[in-house]
C-alpha cells in the first residue's frame, strides 16, 4: 500500500531554526501564560498607582476577596467544559447560604450537619436542573434561568421579613477569617511540592520505560522548581501579615482535586469529549447523559461551598447574598482563564487565576477609592479584551491549520 509522507515537524527543538521555533511557539498551547501576564500587568499598574497594593496585608485581603467568585468559577468551568451553561449557580449559592444560616441560627443544628445538609441541598438542586435539562431535553440555559429565579425565591422565603440572618457559629466564621500557623503552612507546602515532584518524576519514568519521547529534562526541572519557588514566595509573603488564610488552602485544595479529576481520570477525559463533540462521545460509548447530570450536580455542590464562604465573609446572609453580578463574574473568571463557552476547552486552576484577575481589579480600584460603577466598567473591558486576544490567537492558529 502507499503511504503519504509525513510533513509534521520533528519534536526535537535542537535542530529547528529560529523561525521554525518562533512559529512553533506561536502555535503552542500557551496554557496559563496569557492570564499570568495579564495578572502581572494589572498588579504592576495598581502598584504604581498605589504603593499599598502589593503589601502583605492587601494581598492577604485579595485572597479573601477572591474566595466566593473563585469557588463559583470552579463549578462554572466544569459546566463550560461539557459545553453547557449554568445561570443558577449564583442564586443557588445564596440559597444554600440561607439554608446554613437558618439551620445554625434558628434551629441550632450542629455545625457539620448544617454544612453537609446545605451542600446536599445544593447538589440536589443541581441534580434536578441537570435531570430536567438532559431527560426532557430543555437547553441548560433555560432550565438554569428558571433555577436562577426559583432559588432566589427560596432564599427570600427562608430569610423572611427581616431579610437578613446573622451567623454566630465559630467554624463557619472561621472559614474566611482564620490563618494557618507558620509551621503548618510550610509543612503543607513541602508536602504539596513533594507530591508534585513525585508526579512529574513518575510520569517521566512511565514514558521512558515505554521508550516514548520525553520532553527535555530542563522542562521537567523547571516544572518542578517554578511552583516550589512561587509557593515559597507566597507563604513567606503572607507570613508577613497574619499568615496563609485557610481559605487559600481550601481553594487550592479543591482546584487541585478537580484538576486531577478533569485531566487525569477517565471521567475527566469524557468531560472533554462531551464538550468537544457530544455525538461522537455518545457513539464511542461514553455515558453522556449520566455525566452531564453529574456535572450539574457537582457544580451546584461547589456553589453551595461558595455560599458558605460568602456567609463566612459577611458573618450573615442577606437577600443580596449570591445575587447581583456574582455569577457573571464567575463565568468571566472561567473565560478569562481560557475556558471556551463552546465546550471542550478549559482548565480548572486557570479559572482561579481568572477570578484573581477580577478580584485584583476590584481590590485595586477600591484602594484608589473608585466607585463600584468604575469597577464594573473595568471588569467588563478586561473580559472582552481577554476573550478577544484568545479568539484572535485561535483564529490565527486555525488559519495555519495547527
Amino acid at each position: 500500500m502507499s503511504a503519504v509522507r509525513a510533513d509534521a515537524p520533528g519534536r526535537d527543538g535542537a535542530r529547528l531554526g529560529l523561525a521554525a521555533r518562533l512559529g512553533a511557539a506561536r502555535d503552542a498551547d500557551w496554557g496559563p501564560v496569557p492570564v499570568l501576564i495579564g495578572l502581572a500587568l494589572i498588579w504592576l499598574v495598581f502598584q504604581l498607582l498605589n504603593e499599598n497594593f502589593l503589601t502583605a496585608r492587601n494581598l492577604s485581603n485579595l485572597v479573601l476577596q477572591v474566595g466566593v467568585v473563585g469557588m463559583l468559577s470552579l463549578g462554572v468551568v466544569l459546566v463550560l467544559l461539557i459545553g453547557e451553561i449554568d445561570l443558577s449557580l449564583g442564586t443557588l449559592a445564596g440559597m444554600c447560604a440561607a439554608v446554613v444560616a437558618v439551620l445554625l441560627t434558628n434551629h441550632g443544628w450542629p455545625t457539620w450537619a448544617a454544612i453537609a445538609f446545605a451542600i446536599a441541598v445544593g447538589a440536589a438542586a443541581g441534580l434536578l436542573q441537570g435531570g430536567i435539562s438532559v431527560l426532557v431535553g430543555v437547553p441548560s440555559f433555560v432550565v438554569t434561568l428558571g433555577g436562577f429565579l426559583a432559588w432566589q425565591g427560596v432564599q427570600l422565603t427562608l430569610l423572611g421579613n427581616a431579610g437578613e440572618l446573622r451567623v454566630e457559629d465559630e467554624f463557619v466564621r472561621g472559614i474566611a477569617n482564620s490563618y494557618l500557623p507558620s509551621w503548618l503552612a510550610w509543612l503543607l507546602l513541602v508536602v504539596a511540592v513533594a507530591g508534585w515532584w513525585a508526579d512529574v518524576a513518575l510520569r517521566r519514568r512511565a514514558r521512558t520505560r515505554l521508550s516514548l519521547t520525553t520532553r527535555p529534562l530542563s522542562h521537567d526541572v523547571a516544572a518542578c522548581l517554578a511552583p516550589a519557588a512561587f509557593g515559597a514566595l507566597v507563604v513567606a509573603y503572607l507570613d508577613g501579615y497574619f499568615g496563609v488564610p485557610w481559605l487559600l488552602v481550601v481553594l487550592i485544595g479543591i482546584s487541585v482535586a478537580l484538576g486531577a479529576l478533569t485531566t487525569r481520570t477517565q471521567l475527566g477525559r469524557h468531560l472533554f469529549a462531551i464538550g468537544g463533540d457530544r455525538e461522537a462521545a455518545r457513539r464511542a460509548g461514553v455515558r453522556v447523559d449520566q455525566i452531564r447530570v453529574l456535572v450539574f450536580a457537582l457544580a451546584a455542590g461547589l456553589a453551595a461551598v461558595a455560599g458558605l464562604i460568602a456567609v463566612s465573609r459577611q458573618f450573615a446572609v442577606s437577600t443580596g447574598t449570591g445575587g447581583g453580578t456574582l455569577l457573571l463574574e464567575a463565568i468571566a473568571a472561567a473565560v478569562i482563564g481560557g475556558a471556551s463557552l463552546f465546550g471542550g476547552q478549559g482548565r480548572v486552576y486557570q479559572a482561579l487565576l481568572g477570578a484573581l484577575v477580577i478580584a485584583s481589579v476590584e481590590n485595586g480600584l477600591d484602594l484608589l477609592g473608585k466607585p463600584s460603577s468604575t469597577k464594573d466598567i473595568a471588569t467588563g473591558a478586561i473580559l472582552v479584551a481577554a476573550v478577544s486576544i484568545d479568539a484572535i490567537s485561535r483564529r490565527r492558529r486555525a488559519a495555519r491549520g495547527a
Binding site: M1, S2, A8, R203, A206, T265, Q266, D277
Partner: protein, 261 residues
C-alpha cells in the same frame, strides 16, 4: 481459504426501518464474510447510512434479524456493537476535535489503573500512547507523527486513519466505513483504501459505503447495491463491470448478473 471463511461473519435478514413516514429500509438482506471487503453502493437516500447505523447500534431496526458469527443478536446501542466487535467509521467521522489522537483512539475504552473505582480511575496515558504508536505502525500509517496533537489540526485522510485505527485497536471483527474517501485527494484516498484492504488482510470483515465506483472496484471483493431501501443486486468484483453496477444503482435494469453464491 480457512474453513471459517465459508460461514458469514454478519448476516442481515429482512431489515426494515422507517423514519416516521419515510421507509428508509424495506427488507434488506446482506452477508459479509471474514477477510472480505463488501462495498455498499446506491444512490443518495438509498438507505446505505441507515443500514450501517442499524448494524452499528446507532438505532435499532423496526423489523428483521441480525446474525453475528452465526448467532442472532440485538444491537441495542453503540456499546453493544462494540462488545460484539463491530466498529464504525461514520460519514461525519465522529471524532472529538479538541482531543488528541491517542485520546480519540481510546475514547470510551481508556486504559486505566488504580487507585479509586469506576470512572475515577487514573488514565494510563503513556501505555495508551505506546499502543497507539504500535497500531499505527502495524497499519503502516506514517502520516500521524505527533499523536499528542489535537485532531482539529489533521487533514481529512489523517482523520480517517485515526478512525480506522480505532477499529483495529479495539480488536474489532467487523468494521463499517461510511464514505471514507469522500472529500479526499488522490494521495489520501490511496492511503485510506490501502488501510481498508489491510483491515481485510488482517481477517476482519469490512463494509464500506462509497459513491465512487472506481474506488469500489479497487478495494471491494463484492459489491451490494441498494435502491430505495431494497436490495438491487450483488456483484462479485472480479466478475462484473462497472456498467452493470451503475445499471443496478439507477434501476435501469434489475440486475443480478454474476450474482454471488
Amino acid at each position: 481459504m480457512p474453513a471459517v471463511n465459508s460461514a458469514p461473519l454478519l448476516r442481515l435478514e429482512g431489515i426494515r426501518k422507517s423514519y416516521g413516514a419515510v421507509h428508509a429500509l424495506n427488507g434488506v438482506d446482506l452477508e459479509v464474510r471474514r477477510g472480505e471487503v463488501l462495498a455498499l453502493v446506491g444512490d443518495n437516500g438509498a438507505g446505505k447510512s441507515t443500514l450501517v447505523k442499524t448494524i452499528a447500534g446507532a438505532h435499532t431496526a423496526d423489523e428483521g434479524r441480525i446474525l453475528f458469527e452465526g448467532d442472532e443478536v440485538r444491537v441495542s446501542g453503540p456499546q453493544a456493537a462494540a462488545e460484539l466487535g463491530i466498529a464504525t467509521v461514520y460519514q461525519d467521522l465522529a471524532i472529538c476535535d479538541n482531543l488528541d489522537v491517542v485520546a480519540n483512539l481510546f475514547l470510551g475504552r481508556e486504559q486505566v489503573k488504580a487507585p479509586l473505582a469506576g470512572r475515577l480511575r487514573r488514565l494510563s496515558n503513556a501505555a495508551m500512547e505506546q499502543r497507539t504508536r504500535e497500531v499505527l505502525a502495524e497499519l503502516s500509517v506514517t502520516t500521524l507523527r505527533d499523536v499528542r496533537r489535537p485532531v482539529s489540526g489533521l487533514s481529512g485522510g489523517q482523520r480517517q486513519a485515526v478512525a480506522v485505527a480505532r477499529a483495529v485497536l479495539w480488536g474489532s471483527k467487523l468494521v463499517l466505513l461510511d464514505e471514507p474517501t469522500a472529500a479526499l485527494g488522490v494521495e489520501q484516498t490511496d492511503m485510506v483504501l490501502g488501510l481498508v484492504r489491510s483491515l481485510a488482510e488482517r481477517g476482519l470483515g469490512v463494509i464500506v459505503i462509497s459513491h465512487n465506483l472506481s474506488d469500489v472496484f479497487r478495494v471491494a471483493d463484492r459489491i451490494a447495491v441498494l435502491r430505495l431501501g431494497r436490495n438491487a443486486g450483488t456483484f462479485v468484483r472480479a466478475e462484473s463491470e462497472p456498467d452493470d453496477v451503475v445499471a443496478a444503482i439507477t434501476g435501469g435494469r434489475l440486475l443480478s448478473g454474476a450474482k454471488a453464491s
